[in-house]
């Protein structure tokens, strides 16, 4: 069913009785060409692009819970392409371009809103780092501008310019960055994949990966064994667990990242704002809630919930940098499980097992990568060659030291990225 304003009008006039399911609930078949483990944003996007761009439709996406229930359903919805290291630059650039046409492509309003991002800097060192980053972005072909303090003040007068422990000196701005309605992204891809014949199978936990003679042959699931020519991991924070089923150890630690939303208030924050000091990223949703986050809790966790020290740190950063939101009330906090790598950048690659593919290590940058990741992963699965925008996301780089993408420069300590 095609969605449109006319359709909404027509259904409204006839009692909204004509809306069909967004996707089917098929029984798993005995065998598929491709099984994708994980029905989150990346898994669903992968299925969609495999079907839409590569004509592979005999696919099952196996999800142990509900579609979009992982990090795509629990993030701060920011989309941007402002990385500076080769590998990341071209990938996020590609992903942002996909975001820009996503709604028309999916016939689903994911509310992609290019409201711009301001990465504030507070001293000369941070400014020079912002300049290096901005130049990288331009060299990649994306947009970036360096704003001085007055220009930032004009755009975001509610920030603390007058009595700040770390005075705001300026910002790196990317106008094409913004936010999207996170759940809708998952649903849009799910619907698009389902329409093209992909089987989306919920409540179907994978309990084993079958490997014969160094080649993957299928998976064991809570709903029985399913054979497959190719098996593709897209399990985010659970990647290590799933890979272990195939005997693989990944360069990944799972950590909890909390995120926060306040009660709805009238529009105040128009852009996405981030602070280099103390680390904060904040935007305001279309519903009026302020959505924000900060660092990881820093300890390994699968609990998808956090503790007070990082909650308080985040609120302290808000108070320091945006004192105008001090009276906004925190409504809900939640945690996601982040697959942290030693260089803070992801992996889209073959695994050592034939027919088993890896897509993991998104740290806490996975949401903005969703279309790009699905697109590049689908390319890899379909053609067995890396997508041109994702050639550097190699598993081997950690061992060889070639092409590490350590944007933070914090080295091989997984939780510091």
């Amino acid at each position: 069913m095609r969605f449109s304003g006319w359709r909404v009008l027509k259904e409204g006039l006839t009692g909204n009785k004509g809306w069909g399911p967004h996707w089917r609930d098929p029984q798993p078949k005995r065998e598929y060409d491709v099984i994708i483990i994980g029905g989150g944003g990346h898994g669903l996007a992968t299925a969609y692009y495999l079907a839409a761009e590569h004509g592979i439709t005999n696919i099952a996406v196996l999800e142990r819970g509900y579609l979009g229930g992982g990090n795509v359903g629990r993030n701060t919805t920011i989309v941007r392409a402002n990385y500076y290291l080769p590998g990341n630059s071209e990938f996020y650039s590609h992903s942002l371009r996909l975001w820009e046409s996503l709604e028309q492509e999916l016939n689903y309003n994911a509310m992609m809103s290019q409201r711009s991002i301001l990465n504030l800097y507070h001293n000369d060192g941070q400014r020079d780092a912002a300049v290096r980053r901005g130049n990288s972005i331009i060299n990649q072909g994306d947009d970036a501008e360096l704003l001085d303090r007055d220009a930032v003040r004009k755009l975001a007068p509610y920030l603390n310019f007058d009595n700040n422990r770390f005075p705001i000196q300026g910002a790196l701005m990317q106008r094409r960055a913004g936010t999207a309605r996170h759940d809708a992204v998952a649903w849009g891809f799910a619907r698009g994949a389902d329409m093209r014949g992909v089987d989306l199978i919920q409540n179907c936990e994978v309990t084993g990966i079958d490997v014969e003679g160094g080649k993957v042959t299928g998976v064991q699931t809570a709903r029985g064994p399913i054979r497959a020519k190719k098996v593709a991991l897209a399990a985010a924070g659970r990647s290590g667990q799933v890979a272990a089923m195939a005997g693989l150890t990944l360069p990944i630690e799972s950590h909890v990242l909390q995120a926060f939303v306040t009660e709805g208030v009238k529009p105040l924050i128009d852009q996405v704002i981030t602070f280099a000091e103390g680390h904060l990223y904040i935007s305001q949703s279309d519903k009026g809630g302020l959505v924000f986050g900060s660092y990881l809790d820093f300890y390994s966790s699968y609990a998808a919930r956090g503790n007070l020290p990082m909650v308080e740190h985040t609120m302290e950063t808000c108070v320091a940098m945006v004192p105008a939101i001090s009276k906004a009330r925190l409504l809900r906090s939640w945690g996601g499980i982040m697959d942290m790598t030693p260089d803070g950048s992801p992996i889209i690659d073959h695994s050592p097992i034939e027919g088993l593919y890896l897509n993991c290590g998104w740290c806490y940058g996975g949401f903005k990568a969703t279309p790009g990741s699905g697109n590049a992963y689908a390319h890899l699965i379909a053609t067995d060659r890396p997508h041109g925008a994702a050639t550097k996301f190699k598993l081997d780089r950690f061992r060889s030291g070639h092409g590490l993408m350590d944007e933070e420069g914090t080295g091989a300590q997984h939780n510091l990225h």
Binding site: Y66, S89, R115, I138, Q140, F166, G288, M315, S326, G409
Partner: protein, 981 residues
């Protein structure tokens, strides 16, 4: 309407307040809601989506409708629940999210368009033309969305945070909480009892009942008096426990002065507006009670439709009848108490409708059994209800409908650590899973035990278990006797029929929306929630989630436990960012660290830089200088021509002593320190275990087993932790200790051709170049004060660093400056320091950016092959020794533009300026007054082999595009003759 002789507010002082500009009067002890109802004021707010008129639904913090804004300017406080806001003299409240007024709200046209605004409609439209989303649709939606407004000004109220510790935390002060606190308190346990309400007592404040044969209020007063008299019990009202965290940590929000006129909480006044508590409790008894849930029927959202328990609360606690002709609609016995209390108070009860055929009878009022309310009418106030029974449909005139669909135990805290509640069919509600939060026991209504007697009993029993765990003796006081009526309920979630029946009142989610979501295959409860926004309003579904779940279960043909529940997450009640972020406003965000020369720097008008937590002088302006560059150039020339003095105390200083001190240094640095002679200093480079450079600095050998290491300012903490890691984890058998002495020493660089002359004027024993060659160190004394002198240089000049105990820092700096000025020099700051070090190619964390190797820095030769050290193995990875990597180079401008800038990228002149042709980047740039132009350091692919090449420097951010020459990264005195003096 206030009922004479009813309520705890009898005889209270009257209080003036305004609502939407209208002057009204309430009583001390009123909430804004009770005062509005006493004034017969029902229309308080508008709903979020359809802007439907809304009144007061509840009497607690779960209120979804009656949200108002208080105050103006910086004090503007949106989304205040009228049901918890205590009245104070002069309180000014107003409706929000309506225009021009709550009476006449333009956006109520949305209500007419409701057929088109069903669940998830926005995902299906607003896509054409594509550009219109950002230009038209989204701005429209954003303007309409949101509830109240923030002022946009910085908050001027004060907030606090505090820690507390106890044996037993009791959450809630109803019968279960009171008995828990009494039992534990009598046994001597350290008890905290927290109550969200302004008064202790929970439901005992709002029910007419007896305990031990006397009115509950009397028993409550006695219990509280007993608790207050105990030195080991802390009672905190207006304090809501907001979250349960690991190892018995709880968050709690105390509303310290919300009940007082606002000037009580301004910054500088003696009390904060709110205090956020972090409580470490060995045990917790959750006695949080239960929340009554509405029934979904057509137009159940009109002002005047209220919860039955709330109607009872307004009557019994505040002496307010919310209507003149009240009706009641319920599916459970408990709700009949409301009818009994109303009847006893002489309020006219128009009808009692019970969906159950076996509902209890009453002498006081007729009960319509097996009947349901299927519609209401009225505009801004309920006028009538339509009742459906075997007799057909009839309309009953009423201005207030008290409804009850049963009670939901407040299990929230028990789910904060991922515990899932258990469905109880007899209660039609979720109860906590035991041990869902280690150390937490639920008691009373929150545990599904609804009778007062049951609550008293469970509270006492839970405390008894805690006492046993604490090893304390329980006192054998008898359990008080109270009502123990069973809780009888029959399922009734929705009343079938046409039209819209509300589930989530604030977000305007109706039964139809949930049904439609299910039809679109949003059958998972999480999908339904996210698709319809059910339970995502400010009450987080406290009123509506269970009923919505029941609807979803019904339409998908599953049981409620099969359907599951959404996740309860902290905070239990919303918490102001200002409270959890207390202390961080203005300069409070991070500690401030000042060097001992700070006063002098301020006296001289030095510009300050934040360097980590430190403040350092950037430059010391002189009269007549109009830009920082002029000052900086002058200060650079002090050092090159005479002598400059700079505070370098912020560099990390680590004292290392012990028989194995040399071993430690050999292990932590990639070059060797065991061979360093006593009285000498060596430059060292340390790697992370992954082979990249961590930090650099100089280490001096003061004695056979005594070194002092310096680190960069930025990495001081990291290096200290690293040393401790080696000493405690990797090499605990070594006899060596490391101690941070950064703050113990004030250390000043004295640099320039006249540095020795200056020092000799100050030192008790003069020095000469033979006794103190380059890289010498040792003890000196200044006016009898023992200190340390290091002949090291970060400027390339003959230079020393003189360290005295920090208490002498100020006077030492003053003495050094006055003598330097006598020699034609003076103070220099960070800007000049930076230029001086770039001229010499010395690195800082602009270069040691976490991604560089020793080879990149041209220091591959420092990686010792004669010993093992941290990072050695991984530094040998092929990717780290690849000759194709970048290497540090110097850059000199050629061509017309003599500017270079940090952050610029480098390209071969013939290549396009695109990422794939990128050759490197500039890390540091500064104007060299010696050379008369800017110079820079940077990393360039195979840089060491490209000395003399032309390279194109492009800085889009600053609009700079110029050619430069690749040079060795030492611009000045490459042989180091000046350093050696």
């Amino acid at each position: 309407m206030r009922i004479a002789g009813k309520g705890l507010t009898q005889g209270a002082k009257s209080v003036n307040f305004t609502f939407n500009g209208q002057h009204l009067m309430g009583l001390e002890g009123d909430t804004l809601a009770s005062a509005l109802l006493a004034n017969d004021h029902h229309l308080v707010a508008r709903s979020f989506k359809y802007h439907r008129p809304r009144g007061i639904l509840t009497a607690g913090s779960e209120e979804p409708n009656a949200l108002v804004t208080l105050g103006t300017g910086a004090a503007q406080d949106p989304n205040i629940r009228a049901t918890t806001q205590e009245l104070y003299e002069g309180l000014e409240a107003r409706s929000q999210n309506c225009w021009p007024s709550v009476e006449h709200d333009i956006l109520s046209v949305n209500n007419l368009a409701a057929p088109f605004f069903g669940a998830g409609f926005y995902y299906k439209t607003f896509m054409w033309p594509a550009a219109f989303w950002e230009k038209l649709y989204e701005p429209m939606i954003r303007r309409a969305a949101g509830l109240g407004a923030l002022s946009g000004e910085a908050d001027t109220d004060a907030y606090e945070k505090a820690f507390a510790f106890c044996d037993l935390l009791v959450v809630g002060s109803g019968p279960a909480g009171l008995m828990a606190a009494l039992t534990a308190g009598r046994a001597g346990a350290d008890v905290m009892m927290l109550e969200e309400d302004s008064r202790m007592g929970g439901r005992l404040l709002v029910e007419r009942e007896e305990i031990n044969g006397k009115p509950a209020a009397l028993w409550l007063a006695e219990a509280l008096a007993e608790l207050q008299a105990m030195g080991n019990v802390r009672l905190m009202s207006r304090t809501a426990v907001t979250g349960a965290y690991d190892q018995g940590t709880y968050g709690a929000l105390e509303r310290v002065s919300h009940h007082l006129p606002r000037n009580h909480s301004l910054k500088g006044s003696h009390r904060p507006r709110e205090c956020f508590w972090r409580i470490a409790a060995k045990h917790c008894v959750l006695a949080a009670g239960a929340i009554e849930r509405p029934v979904a029927f057509r137009n159940n959202d009109r002002p005047g439709v209220m919860m039955a328990g709330a109607v009872r609360a307004y009557l019994n606690r505040w002496g307010v009848a919310p209507g003149e002709r009240i009706t009641l609609f319920a599916n459970n016995d408990d709700a009949h108490r409301t009818a009994r209390d109303l009847a006893a108070a002489g309020v006219h009860l128009a009808a009692v409708i019970d969906s159950r055929h076996d509902a209890p009878d009453s002498d006081l009022f007729p009960v319509l059994k097996g009947a349901q309310v299927c519609n209401t009418s009225g505009g801004k106030r309920l006028e009538s209800i339509t009742v459906r029974s075997v007799r057909g449909e009839e309309k009953i005139q009423t201005d207030c409908l008290a409804m009850s669909g049963g009670w939901n135990p407040s299990v929230h805290l028990t789910c904060h650590l991922n515990g899932r509640p258990t469905w109880r069919r007899d209660l039609l509600g979720f109860v906590p899973q035991p041990d869902a939060v280690p150390g937490l026991r639920a008691a009373g209504a929150c545990n599904g035990t609804f009778s007062t007697q049951g609550a008293l009993c469970e509270g006492a029993a839970a405390a008894a278990e805690v006492l046993e765990a604490l090893g304390l003796q329980r006192h054998g006081a008898p359990l008080p006797q109270a009502d123990d009526a069973p809780y009888r309920i029959a399922p009734l979630w929705t009343v079938p029929g046409k039209g819209r029946a509300w589930l989530d009142f604030q977000n305007d989610v109706t039964v139809k929306d949930v049904t439609q979501a299910a039809a679109e295959n949003f059958r998972s409860v999480e999908h339904m929630k996210r698709y319809t926004t059910q339970g995502m309003a400010t009450d987080q579904g406290k009123n509506s989630n269970v009923a919505a779940l029941a609807v979803l279960a019904d339409v998908t043909g599953r049981s409620i436990p099969e359907t599951g529940s959404t996740t309860f997450r902290p905070p239990f009640v919303p918490v102001a960012i200002g409270a959890m972020g207390a202390g961080a406003a203005d300069q409070g965000f991070k500690p401030q660290r000042f060097v001992t020369s700070q006063d002098v720097a301020e006296e001289r008008g030095a510009s300050q830089l934040e360097v980590g937590l430190w403040y350092r002088a950037a430059y010391f302006p002189k009269q007549g200088e109009t830009s920082w560059r002029q000052s900086c150039d002058r200060e650079v020339m002090y050092v090159r021509k005479a002598v400059g003095v700079c505070d370098v105390s912020t560099l990390g200083k680590i004292d290392i002593q012990g028989a194995d001190a040399a071993k430690l240094l050999d292990f932590v640095y990639c070059n060797t320190f065991s061979t360093l002679k006593q009285g000498r200093v060596r430059y060292g480079l340390m790697l992370r275990e992954d082979g990249f450079v961590m930090d650099d600095g100089t280490t001096a050998r003061l004695g056979q087993n005594h070194y002092v290491m310096t680190t960069t300012t930025a990495a001081a903490g990291q290096v200290m932790a690293h040393l401790e890691f080696i000493l405690q984890v990797l090499r605990p058998e070594w006899d060596v200790r490391a101690t941070s002495v950064t703050e113990h020493w004030a250390q000043f660089a004295v640099a320039g051709p006249k540095s020795r002359e200056l020092l000799n004027a100050l030192l008790d024993q003069p020095i000469d170049s033979e006794g103190w060659p380059f890289m010498a160190c040792g003890e000196v004394s200044v006016l009898g004060v023992k200190g340390r002198l290091f002949r090291i240089s970060f400027s390339g000049e003959e230079a020393y660093e003189l360290a005295l105990p920090a208490c002498y820092g100020d006077s030492l700096f003053r003495s050094l400056l006055s003598r330097a000025e006598g020699l034609g020099g003076g103070a220099y700051g960070m800007e000049a320091l930076n230029v001086l070090r770039i001229e010499k190619g010395f690195i800082t964390h602009a270069e040691i950016n976490g991604t560089v190797t020793a080879q990149d820095l041209g220091m591959a030769g420092m990686l010792s092959k004669k010993k093992t050290f941290i990072g050695q193995a991984m530094a040998a990875r092929p990717g780290l020794v690849d000759p194709d990597r970048v290497q540090m180079v110097g850059l000199k401008p050629i061509g017309a533009v003599k500017e270079l800038s940090a952050g610029a990228h480098l390209f071969n002149p013939e290549d396009p300026v695109e990422r794939i042709y990128d050759q490197g980047y500039v890390t540091s740039a500064g104007f060299s007054p010696l050379m008369g132009h800017t110079i820079a350091l940077g990393f360039l692919k195979q840089g060491a082999n490209r000395i003399g090449d032309e390279i194109r420097l492009v800085d889009h951010m600053r609009g700079l595009d110029t050619l430069c020459e690749v040079v060795e990264p030492v611009f000045f005195d490459p042989e180091g003759e000046r350093t050696r003096g």
